[in-house]
């Protein structure tokens, strides 16, 4: 990649023959259309599948015997299947789709090789389908957030490489040499995932390390994925869409730069739980890094707040902004909770409880999924050149999703703290503690239900948009095909 000193001179100096003026947004959107439609639609389907699994798992706390007689649908398989559908079915591919579009738009360059990106997306989804069925069939690896069996993990990895190779090429072929903050985040994210994923898969599934070192690698992987990768992609979208949709400048590049450095430096050191049966320096360094993560949170909160000019009501001006605004709030809350967890008193009271589940859900759902959904609600109409079939459904999705997340996270967090405090008192029998969590778990089923409902709305709306577009295309192609015949005949 050539280094240019001034962005204004960049275009002529840099690319010489290859370089033409910046591609128009319409051209860029056209190049992104097919791969992004495949990525987003498949992601929406996985979202619905994932929430169906989550609902099934949640119902088992109402009646333990519910669907228990089938090995494929036992809690210990349905639960990870749901998490993996969410994580690898929705979060990563949808995040990649948003990343591709942002990289193309910010670089004013068409997406490189859309056909091959589409192939990569298909490969990824095939891998996820293999992986989820593997988990249901009892071939889970047992490592949290990395349950997919080795054969499926390889296909997924290949799919990722096939997408990201062209994303990097798109980045390199950018016409606008000056980098916007989102591009740092995205570019780092692009190669973060292959590194952590290949490390984890090689050391856990292929050349397995011994004993508890496996768990350390697994913790490192899931922290790097859920904190750093999600943070990089999610914040890239936040820093792009908040200024764009409010029509204001991003408040501070330097705060964004600080966020970037803090996230990659300290975010990547979290993850080893306080209680872990490993040498003490590991959980301690994790706790310190997590505490320093507070800087990231403050920098993001401040930057977004200042960008809005202190008027949070601006977030209601665009449906996408609502989702993204919710995501930013969730990001800040999760960050604060995580930083509080660096204190040993807090971590002792919350370890092994539903609190950690609530925190994880608030991160992957409240923050990442909401931001990405907001981005898709903006990007998809651009790609299709048409609005979503139902604007009301978008609003309804926001409210069901927001209510669903709150109804899911709050009861679990409360129940987790109660559970944790009781676990510290040996005089309380364990059976009582387990029973004490049930009302909260049952309340969280409502949240699961609402979230699932929201996902159905999203899928219906997105599918409607895509079907309308391609139907119109087919119709016009058909019309032009049939129209062409006449002049030819006439001439003949």
């Amino acid at each position: 990649m050539s280094v240019i000193s001034s962005p204004s001179q960049a275009s002529p100096a840099d690319a010489g023959a290859e370089l033409c003026p910046p591609d128009s947004p319409a051209l860029i959107d056209a190049s992104c259309r097919l791969p992004l439609v495949v990525l987003f639609l498949a992601a929406a389907v996985w979202l619905v599948i994932g929430s169906a699994f989550a609902l099934m798992a949640s119902l088992k706390f109402h009646a333990p015997g519910f669907l228990a007689d089938s090995a494929w649908l036992t809690y210990g398989r349905v639960h990870p299947a749901g998490l993996n559908s969410m994580l690898y079915g929705f979060c990563i591919p949808a995040g990649l789709g948003v990343a591709l579009w942002l990289l193309a738009r910010l670089g004013h360059a068409r997406l490189a090789r859309p056909g091959l990106v589409t192939l990569g997306a298909v490969c990824w989804n095939l891998g996820v389908a293999l992986g989820i069925s593997g988990i249901l069939a009892g071939r889970s690896t047992g490592f949290e957030d990395l349950e997919m069996p080795a054969y499926a993990a390889r296909v997924v990895f290949l799919g990722y490489l096939m997408i990201v190779l062209w994303a990097v090429l798109t980045f390199q072929q950018r016409r606008e040499r000056q980098l916007f903050v989102s591009q740092w985040f995205l570019f780092a994210a692009l190669f973060w995932f292959p590194w952590i994923n290949s490390t984890a898969n090689l050391l856990l599934l292929t050349f397995q390390v011994r004993g508890i070192a496996q768990a350390v690698v697994a913790w490192w992987y899931s922290d790097n994925l859920l904190v750093v990768w999600f943070g990089l992609v999610g914040l890239a979208a936040v820093f792009y869409f908040v200024p764009k949709l409010t029509g204001r400048e991003l408040h501070s590049r330097y705060l964004a730069l600080l966020t970037f450095w803090m996230l990659i430096l300290f975010g990547s050191w979290g993850g080893i739980p306080r209680s872990a049966p490993v040498p003490a320096w590991m959980p301690i360094s994790s706790a310190i890094a997590t505490g320093l993560g507070l800087i990231t949170i403050i920098a993001v909160g401040l930057n977004v707040y200042q960008t809005l000019g202190g008027q949070c009501s601006k977030l209601w001006s665009h449906p996408s902004l609502r989702f993204i605004g919710f995501g930013v709030v969730a990001f800040v809350v999760v960050g604060l909770i995580r930083a509080a967890g660096a204190l040993s008193e807090v971590s002792h009271a919350t370890q092994f409880t539903w609190f950690t589940v609530a925190r994880g859900m608030l991160n992957s759902y409240g923050f990442f999924t909401m931001v990405i959904l907001g981005a898709i609600y903006y990007i998809a109409p651009q790609l299709m050149g048409a609005e979503f079939p139902s604007a009301k459904l978008v609003t309804a999705h926001f409210w069901t999703a927001a209510a669903g997340i709150l109804l899911f996270v709050v009861p679990l967090a409360v129940s987790g703290v109660v559970q944790g405090l009781k676990l510290q008192q040996p005089s309380i029998p364990f059976a009582d503690i387990a029973h004490g969590t049930l009302p909260f778990l049952r309340a969280s089923t409502t949240g699961d239900l609402l979230i699932a409902l929201g996902h159905l709305m999203f899928l219906a709306n997105l599918a409607g948009l895509v079907i309308r577009f391609y139907r119109a295309r087919v119709a016009s192609a058909w019309a032009s095909a049939t129209a062409q015949i006449k002049p030819v005949e006439a001439r003949a």
């Binding site: 089938s70 490592f143 980098l179 570019f187 011994r210 040996p426």
Partner: protein
Amino acid sequence: MKYGPLVFLAAFFALASSWCGFVLTPQLQIGRLQQTNTLGGAAATYPVAWPGLARQGMEVYRANGCVYCHSQQVGQTGTVVDIALADAGTNLTATVAALLSLADAATNQSADLTPLPALELDKSNPTDTNLLSGLPKAFFRSPSPQDANAALQALNATSAKAQLWIVPVGPDIARGWGKRRSVAEDFLFDSPALPGSQRVGPDLADVGTRLPNPNWHLLHLYAPRLQVKGSIMPPYRFLFEQRKIEHRPSPDALVLPADLAPPSGYEVVPTPAAKALAAYLISLHADAPLFVAPLTVATTHAAPATNAAPASEAATTNAPPAPAPAR
């Protein structure tokens, strides 16, 4: 940061540092961990590889996601020292007097000692040598190795043979979930290592000590609420087979109460997977005394001399400095 290569280098540096920290260094430190010896007279190699059936059971445990509800790691908040008598010596009166003066010191708080039930019970009748029956038993507990050592010397001065027992403490240990904290060594032969992150159900690190009967586990897997009242664990009936009794009932058939029993002429037998899982569960122990997580294995109530011997040796090897406990 205007340039792509710079962003790349920044990210590369950050991830490389984290990779060295949490992937490479753990490999060097605990990835090459070897078997060790347990402390005490009957030093044994620890851990030992899983017996075949238990190894298969670990696969069943992994495949069915038991780890999402059960952790396998015991926590420990600290270590205390118990002052115990192994032998009352020849001058019983002096021994009792020494014990009582220590009890006074404990009440006056001039020494950091807590009297244990063994002492409290007989306080009403102090001259009774019943106080000294059923040795070895612990009389005081102290968080301070210095005070414990002083008490030890006071008792030994009376020709009695006193010992210091190292006792890990914490809520998990008080619940009977284990004898000491879990350490890296415990997971040496686990593949995958499943320390777990949730306690929807109880911790299983030491379940083999707590519930050593495989039949208990089989019944519990088939009908959890039969064994644990109000359990929220789902039943695992797909690990069992209901089949027609051929010539004679299988010896493995579950003994079920009337409401769960199969129709007459049928029996419920565990599949090999269920048997393997039960074998795995009963082989889970977290009570081996290790250098990194010391404890004194001893029976606190009347025990045959043969059992007491390793305990006393364990105590003498560990006692003098009351070595730096886990935390």
